[in-house]
Subunit: 214 residues, 2 copies
Amino acid sequence: MTRVRIDLNISLDGFASGAPTSENPMGEDWERLTAAYVATRTFRERVFGDTSGAGSTGIDDSYAAAYFEGVGAEIMGAGMFGFHSFPDDPDWQGWWGDEPPFGIPVYVLTHTAPRPPMPMQGGTTFHFRSTAITDVLAEAIDSAGTLDVRVGGGVGTAREFLRAGLVDDLHVAIAPILLGRGGRLWEDLRGLDLTHQVRTEVAESGTTHVTFTR
Amino acid sequence: MTRVRIDLNISLDGFASGAPTSENPMGEDWERLTAAYVATRTFRERVFGDTSGAGSTGIDDSYAAAYFEGVGAEIMGAGMFGFHSFPDDPDWQGWWGDEPPFGIPVYVLTHTAPRPPMPMQGGTTFHFRSTAITDVLAEAIDSAGTLDVRVGGGVGTAREFLRAGLVDDLHVAIAPILLGRGGRLWEDLRGLDLTHQVRTEVAESGTTHVTFTR
């Protein structure tokens, strides 16, 4: 049965992104937030196409492998797609390039006039929706078939789904760093530990993996 | 050589206290924040006087034992002493009772007119200081001799010492709960991981212990 999943990299002080700019939409702290994840064998293989077997193979890698398994549709906010970066350019097609790494239907939440679907190389099709998140989720679940739906981000979108009680599995990889700025995950999420089971383990890299499961 | 230490119990979303009231100065979430700590054999013995050997004996207990070792003077904020709770009662002597659990000199930071020293049963003497935190710290270090100085809290006082670069050892015990309110530890502490070494481990209780050491 389809589950609704969120995976985020955050800092110890709870920031999921750092000070984004138009040159660097993920923010300049992104590399430090994701260093342990990017160093895994799975990430190197799946994202960089590195089949040499290089990369870390411990606890971080087991979470990375789980990340890439079983997702049939993705939902993302307008900022993660890239709408906010060049708002005056009607030809701007977002940050994800000609061949986005999803390979599945991606539902982009937007408050601007909907665009027609945008099929890309590699199996990704972007769908733009300005309806309620519950409606978008129902559509994503439908198109995911037996697979899961991931709410990919950004952090504001993730929090919106979490607060609405729509998320079955949240995995946060907490880097042992303090950023002091950026988008906070932990706002108004009091009690998520009461509706979900919480499990924590520390990877060899010092990253703490916390999962909330219901 | 004297080290300056802070130990705090915080939630996963970074709150070190929850919604304090005049009836419950620690806030109603305090019990959940400190449950794993209070359950340790060391805490039961040292605070409750329970010498039966009951209580947890794993990772949480090893941090609890370290907590009680080697502190020669303590610094606390006015709120932790209790000044803010009954500001109009000149006879109010704070939350700590006739025999406070410190047994050492305790320096209380206050912006109100200094009181004379207040010696209590059990070896605690409260000293009230309205000078700069660096001056109070120098005095506390002096009176600690070869032992350490603890900045006991509250969280605002802890953050003030951390931001000023005055803390050698920070230990946070992170309970796997989300409170969504209270006093935040992680404000404006960007880069503490660059001046200190960070170590993380998860206790049997699900509490994550993170230490910053320089």
